[in-house]
Amino acid sequence: MSLSRLVFLLTILAIGLPTAAWADLAPPPPGKAPPRATGPEPTTAPPPTADELLAAVDRNLTFPSRTSRTRMTVVGSGRTREYEMTGFGRGEEDAAVEYLAPAREKGTRMLKLGAELWIYMPSVDRVQKISGHMLRQGMMGSDVSYEDMMTSRELRKQYRSKVLGDGVVEGRACWRLEMVATNNAVTYPKREVCIDKDHFIPLEQKLYALSGMLLKVWTMSDVRSYDGGRKFPHRMVIRDQLRKGSETRIDTVELKFGVALPAEVFSLRWLERK
């Protein structure tokens, strides 16, 4: 090899190596995204604020009225139970549920008005009132509490939040948020949430106690579209972290928003009707 050829090769190497290294760090040219091993593409747009995200979530998950038919599967340490129920929701605090199955629970009705809840038990033809901390007990021994199931409060009003960054839950890109309750009366004083970037549904929520103990992990999936651009998850899975091996799945069979609700539903008379 001649000397001039050797100098030429060394010059090429000297220029080429730093350029190659720089190429790894530099942003890709327009229209050409870098390949990723897994997961969706990152968003290049500036992240929305926490407030914007929660407003979008609240638009999806809160409603003036709705009716639903759901199937709840409770997987316990010993056995699995299935419940079927119809539900009525009015605003953030009022809800009514009637159990259709299994036979043991058929006819059981629950009515929540504000912070109070009544349960009608057909086997003894009696109404039991529940309030206070009892609302946080597992409904029918599930991982989801009466309050979780029968309340649809706007998150934005209850929490001070900040966006932590990007995340991925079951292959879907989401925004990770940390939410801290504005007062201690909130059931879950802290949440870590990952909000779907397209649907604005909390794909995964980690719900914490005031002590910092993780209480529940709540996931939402099978998101479907409704009138007015509303998105709603048809499957929720809740795992109470204090109950080993326990899991509750709530599958929505039918769901209607903005329907006119029968007036008698939100009255104690409805509970005891034959």
């Binding site: 340490s77 010993g78 003894v124 009696r126 039991q128």
Partner: protein, 418 residues
Amino acid sequence: MNRPHLRSLVVLGRLAGRNLRRNPTRTGLTMGMVTVGVALLVIGQSWIDGMMGEMLRTATDAAGHVRLVDPGYARREALAPLDKNLRDVQELANRLRKVSGVVEVVPRITTGVTVSTGEEIGDLFAQVIGAPESYLRVRLGLSQRLVAGRWLGTAADDLVMGAKVAEQAGARVGDEVLLLGVTQDGAMSPLKGRLVGIVKGPSASVDQQIFLPLERVQWLTDMPGGATELLVYGAAYQDGVRLAEQLRRDPVSKGLDVSAWSDREPWISMTRTVDAERMILLLIVGFLTAIGIWNTVVTSVLERTHEIGVLRALGLSAAGAVALFVIESLAVGLVGGVCGALLGAWPAWLLQEHGIHLGAGVADKVSMPMAETVYGLLSVEILVTAFLLGLVITLLGSFIPALRAARILPVVAMRSGR
């Protein structure tokens, strides 16, 4: 024993007898101390054995001589986890009944409920016991403890309630009672019943319980065919440990937690307490008796220093000097022990026959099953044990002064002139 030794013992025995007769007052006092000590041991022991025996018999009738549960239930017993239950207990009970030594098998469910009698569901908590009617009637003896109403009949909604729960709930015989419990999965579960009888138990805990046939509590807890515990009975509660061992080896109890009553709380603590009580009684009586004996034997040694010096000069060995006093004490212990056993047997027998009436006030405050009248228990074992303990205490009390006698130098003793 060779002939010279035997002869020496006979001589020492005669000397001891002479010494005992020489000061009858002192001998009588020493014997009196042993007598009183042994008598106190007999009375105390028979009182403790009687009281504890009755408590244990009643308590193990309720709790089973041996208990079989799911290991998860045993680990979190304080929470009575309903989800850790035994399925198809009837089949399991039938297999257990075939095991040698097993007399009876009882499935049982214990759970918490709120009780209310009016329209409003209250916040009065009580414990529900669901078991076969025969267990409630015979093992718990509840049909004999009715203070109002009747025993469980054939009506499906009959229930019997402890006196305290009934009082707190304001429930009267004939009232409809609503129990609000939970299923094994933790779901709210109501049960309606008719109060047919009110019982006052042998312990405060019975007064705070509600008693229902097993099937009804199986429904309440949504445990069809199941139970949280299987109580196994042998011929007597003392058989518990042996029966538990046998059941652990038997394939029928594979995967289950098997425990004798004495392996579980509160019995472990209770047995420890009783042992401690026995030890305290023994130490107090033994110490006082031994001090008394030591005192009189020391006095005797001091009085007889000159005499012992002469005997030592005539050839009595140091061991012989010790033996002289020990033989004296042995004689005192034997006579005092027999007298004490006889003296203690009389009040112990009275305790056994008539008992001591403690009253409902005391029994109500004890969580363990305890009758209002507590009886003693007199046995040959107690008499023999007390007699032997009296003998040992007497020998211990005399041994140190006897060693002092052995150390007396003949020359010094004879010069002392005493």
